[in-house]
């Protein structure tokens, strides 16, 4: 009965051998990956210095870095960043919660599915960004329409993936759970929700992407603070450097959020074979 336990063996070896062997190769490859963007930026810098790209078309990389530093030190960037983060956090909290609640209701009962799923499937075909005019009429131009738009954009991906995940749980596992004495609550907690989690987390990543997109659009609506405001304001003064800084911040926020979900995935889905091997 000594079936070899491959994982255990690999774990024990891991800290010493493969690490040292893999290190130089990894470095070389990552250098190569950064090489071409670096060359492009240098070319851009050279073109700007030679006067080929006018500052009002696109600022030079060096100017952009200097501007970013200035905005950071003056407290302007942190202020706008916090406002934007607040909107995304508020919208996501509402949207993701709504998505989860609706998916659980629709996923766990026939009646729930009939009541919830049909309208959700209809609504999701609407491009939600097209609702901006209606939102302005309903909620005015304050914070509410911005948060509502983020919430709307993030609720659908979570709902759709989690609902599919709940319905995709292997009925044989649920049956085994029943044989071994799980009641309905136990089944939901130990079998159905953990089984739907991988799919739900994919939805969460979509939701984050959708949330940033909603934020960009929302912040074009008469904002007086936030990264979007910073960008719009800069446009009026032809400050392409500030615009690019704003865009970079958007990009970094998106990357950061994705990394956060992935870190959570690595912990919560540690049981999955592909993650075990990695």
């Amino acid at each position: 009965m000594s079936d070899t336990h491959a994982l255990g063996a690999r774990e024990r070896l891991a800290p010493s051998l493969p690490f040292r062997a893999a290190l130089p190769r990894l470095n070389l490859r990552s250098y190569r990956r950064f090489l071409s963007p670096l060359v492009l930026i240098l070319l851009w810098q050279a073109a700007s210095m030679a006067g080929l790209i006018a500052p009002r078309t696109l600022a030079a990389p060096s100017t952009i870095i200097a501007t970013a530093w200035e905005l950071l030190l003056s407290g302007e960037l942190p202020h706008h960043l916090l406002v934007s983060l607040g909107r995304v956090a508020g919208g996501l909290a509402i949207g993701v919660t709504t998505g989860i609640v609706l998916a659980v209701i629709a996923g766990l009962s026939r009646i729930g599915e009939e009541v919830v799923d049909a309208p959700m499937q209809m609504l999701r075909t609407l491009p939600f960004l097209a609702l901006v005019p209606l939102f302005i009429l309903w909620f005015g131009i304050g914070e509410t329409p911005k948060i509502a738009l983020v919430a709307l954009g993030s609720a659908f991906p979570v709902y759709l993936t989690l609902f599919a995940g709940i319905r995709g749980v292997d009925p044989k596992l649920a049956e085994a759970g029943r044989v071994f004495g799980l009641d309905r609550r136990g089944l939901v907690r130990h079998v159905i929700l953990p089984g739907a989690l991988p799919s739900g987390l994919v939805g969460l990543r979509y939701a984050l992407g959708s949330a940033w997109l909603s934020l960009v659009i929302a912040e074009q609506i008469n904002a007086t603070a936030g990264i979007g405001f910073l960008i719009n304001d800069a446009r009026d003064f032809l400050r392409t450097d500030v615009i690019v800084v704003g865009l970079l911040v958007y990009a970094l926020l998106g990357l950061g959020a994705d990394a956060l979900v992935r870190a959570f995935e690595r912990r919560a889905l540690a049981w999955r074979p592909n993650l075990i091997k990695a």
């Binding site: 009965m1 336990h5 044989k172 071994f180 799980l182 136990g186 049981w271």
Partner: protein
């Protein structure tokens, strides 16, 4: 005085649409006995097992008595991949003593050192042994085995046969093994039932002392008899031998 391992079924009929799967079936299992249920695919053996396990609805007109503590091992291990091995074993068990009981059950099936492993890292045999531990830890009075060896390779299967016999001897639950493997039935059970057309077509005691060997003349005779009960013709048997 009835033993709390008594199993008794009277007049069980199950239909799916127009198809009658079980027809007025009667079944009596001795407390602590090991019975094998043979039958062609579609003969209703899984339906009978599922009814005993409480997985299928019990028809009102049938009288079914089974112990309260029933455990099942399925053809697939059916472990929850997101729970570690010991958590799978204690699934649905109440109380603080559950982890310690899981540990003992895992030791009994030889998996003590895998208690914290994820199911996806187990081999087929290890996963099926975990499923056995999960059934055992409930101290079942009725143990239902639904072709639990069918998906295993031949060598692992031999080891599993021995393990199941050991566990049965140690805990003496009334055991019902559903299988379509005649050799497996003769090797393990005290009594073999052949299910055909929704009824028990043959009820044969296995009077061979353990350990049993394929070379035994009584083994071969019983095997021939069971195969003919199952409708496999004599020529085919000779041909294959």
């Amino acid at each position: 005085m009835t033993d709390n391992r008594q199993v008794s079924v009277r007049g069980l009929t199950r239909r799916f649409g127009t198809n009658t799967v079980l027809h007025k079936l009667d079944l009596e299992l001795e407390p602590g006995s090991f019975t094998a249920l043979l039958g062609r695919s579609g003969s209703g053996k899984s339906t009978l097992l599922r009814t005993l396990a409480g997985l299928d609805p019990r028809p009102v007109e049938a009288r079914i008595e089974v112990p309260e503590a029933v455990a099942v091992a399925f053809q697939e291990p059916r472990l929850l991949p997101w729970k570690r091995v010991w958590e799978n074993v204690t699934l649905g068990l109440p109380g603080k003593g559950a982890p310690a009981r899981a540990e003992r059950a895992l030791a009994e099936v030889g998996l003590a050192r895998h208690r914290d492993a994820w199911p996806a890292t187990l081999s087929g045999g290890e996963a099926q042994r975990t499923a056995l531990a999960r059934a055992l830890v409930r101290e079942p009075r009725l143990l239902l085995l639904d072709e639990p060896f069918a998906a295993l390779d031949a060598l692992t299967r031999i080891r599993m046969h021995a393990l199941v016999l050991d566990l049965w001897r140690a805990h003496t639950p009334t055991t019902l093994l559903v299988t379509h493997d005649v050799d497996e039935a003769i090797l393990l059970a005290d009594r073999i039932l052949v299910l055909d057309a929704g009824r028990i077509a043959a009820d044969i005691p296995v009077g061979i002392e353990r350990p049993r060997s394929h070379g035994d003349a009584r083994f071969a005779a019983l095997r021939r008899r069971l195969l003919s009960e199952l409708g496999v013709e004599a020529e085919v048997i000779r041909e294959a031998a």
